[in-house]
Symmetry: C2
Subunit: 347 residues, 2 copies
DNA sequence: TCATTTTTTGGGATCGCTTGCATTAGGTTG
DNA sequence: CAACCTAATGCAAGCGATCCCAAAAAATGA
């Protein structure tokens, strides 16, 4: 069961292999009638070009790598979907790599992707393999960082606006007249955790207020923490009138706890969550959220990657080595729904 | 910036290309010392074998395809994660294909995957391209169906136990003494929708009861439908004491609606949901669910695929053509939590 | 020691495609 | 009509690995 090769098509069409190749790959130096004829024969025979051979010879695999922590997280699988869709639309396939944020696994994937000759890769990286990523870039492999980017990265980055998003959410609550606003966030070791807290702090400062650490809970990105943190905050701060959940995974634990504690939203507590997880829209009441723009992050990343690939395509010169990669920001959007109101007893 | 090739490694190690190749690919016919020496040189030089060349010559790409509807659905991205992890652990890369359940896109992906020379593929298919999938199988490309499988498929299938899961859930509610059990399900056009309804019906029948269509809501797999369906059921059936949500996406709309309507679980309504979405465990009260075993589905699928790949590896004979592929079932598990109780007023 | 077997290595063809260069066909111009 | 140019095609050389087959080296036995 030997597969049909270009040679077979050429023979059947009565042309040489070169001509057949040019006809199918859209080269301009070929007679239009020849092209049509060859294409027709190829179709009829069910010819499938051998990508491995093509990649070997032309140094173009039409494959891009996607390196990320996991697919459970909503932002991540949204990005993965967007990237895959755009890639497919442009004639590229996507190689999926899940790192669990482990630098060693990440490094191994980078090597493997390079071995597979990917034309480029998009990474939500750990920041620990920037040197290697830069080396790949210098070799002519496109690289785009998403969400996280080390300062030394020579590749362009698409970043979320964590600080701005948190700032907008906190400001909105302050505008409504809230004084005691709880904050459930990620660990300060995580970049997004740091930035969101900074946004919260900045908004308070701008109104001449200070962060009250008794209103702050920081922990891992998971539901169990969300549940515990919520309980602690409620117990410790009976006078808390608003809550900003900046740790998106914690929301899974937080909402049920609030319901269980009989807290009425927004009458007793105003609430804003980070990340627009679909079901938050269906909650009763619908929850106001900060949309971090996962869709746009993926889309822009793919655009930048395609740009790089096209560029290295035409000129063999590797794309701008040395210079630090430009950073693009995707805005965070405050999506107003019904979980926020004026505090019950405004001062 | 030419990459290091096997030739370079061989030269540096003072051996021939054949020897170097054998040393690195774990062939048994080579002196142990030579192997060590060559490996060391390769390491030191940062040699990365060119997979395209390797694939071209050896007909083994070490890439598998994964074809599925989307990554938003929890079962799907869980399966994707498991498959990717297992694949990576076994030295395979995963090419991700998102079809949106569109047969035309699916066909295009199958062609492309074949063109890329994948060693095998796992598909949550539409069932409309079985002929093509069978052809690929005959060509020696491994194929495994997941969740859905056409009868004519020659590839093995890993199926969920939708009917059994629904049967277990309904039986549990009947055991508790419930008489009027609502059903929110998927459209009968979807296979899982059909099967889950069948399980619900069968459980009722076994106790000598009939399906009351006024207790049944069927619709698309989305939150909006879940919200509306819940509202309709509550309005239409004040005497309904239990609810089985067999349409996992609908749950996002259903739960908030129940809360909004002030329905107390499980005192006023017992509830079971299909699919173990993480946050259902954190709900107040924690929701009893049917776990469809997404994790196991992915794991088993990958095992079967690897088996096929190994097999076609040794003997060139294509794996059992003609015969219909064997079907494996992954059991559904009723995970008891706190959302079910005896009906308030048992007869 | 020499013939014979076994183990290890090297030579070179080959996988299927792309691409630089040579060639031919067809058209234009002085 | 020769001379020349352009457009279309063909030839053949690789890309970097693998692997058959033969050669060399090492081990074994008589």
């Amino acid at each position: 069961m030997m597969a049909i090769t270009l040679k077979d098509v050429a023979a059947a069409a009565g042309v040489s292999r070169s001509t057949a190749s040019r006809a199918l790959s859209g080269s301009p130096l070929i007679a239009p009638e020849t092209r049509v004829a060859v294409k027709e024969v190829a179709d009829r025979m069910g010819y499938r070009p051998n990508r491995a051979a093509s990649a070997l010879r032309s140094k173009q695999s039409h494959v891009v790598g996607l390196v990320l922590n996991n697919l459970i997280n909503a932002s991540f699988h949204t990005i993965a979907e967007v990237v895959q869709r755009r890639a497919a639309a442009e004639g590229y396939q996507v190689m999926l790599c899940i790192t669990d944020a482990d630098p060693r696994r990440e490094e191994s994937f980078l090597r493997t992707l390079a071995a597979h000759g990917v034309d480029g890769l998009i990474m939500i990286g750990t920041g620990k393999n920037t040197a290697m990523a830069n080396a790949l870039l210098a070799e002519g492999i496109g690289v785009v960082n998403v969400i996280r980017a080390a300062a030394e990265s020579a590749a362009p980055s698409v970043l979320a606006s964590d600080r701005e998003g948190a700032h907008a959410a906190t400001s909105h609550l302050l505008d409504l007249g809230h004084e005691r606003i709880g904050f459930i966030g990620g660990l300060l070791s995580a970049n997004s955790g740091l930035e969101r807290f900074a946004g919260y702090e900045q908004a308070l400062r701008e109104r001449g207020r200070q962060v009250d650490e008794s209103l702050v809970e920081r922990g891992p990105f998971d539901s169990a923490f969300g549940a515990e943190a919520t309980e602690r905050l409620l117990r410790r701060n009976p006078e808390m009138t608003a809550l900003f959940a900046a740790n998106h995974e914690a929301v899974f634990g937080m909402l049920p706890t609030l319901v269980g504690a009989g807290v009425v939203i927004p009458e007793q507590l105003s609430l804003i969550c980070y990340e627009d997880i679909p079901w938050l829209r269906w909650w009763q009441p619908p929850i106001t959220v900060v949309d971090n723009g996962a869709h746009e992050l993926g889309d822009l990343a793919m655009n930048l990657l395609l740009q790089q690939i096209e560029r290295t395509d035409r000129s063999t010169a590797p794309a701008r080595t040395g210079r630090a990669g430009r950073a693009y920001r995707v805005g965070a959007q405050l999506v107003l729904r019904s979980s926020c109101a004026k505090p019950a007893a405004p001062r």
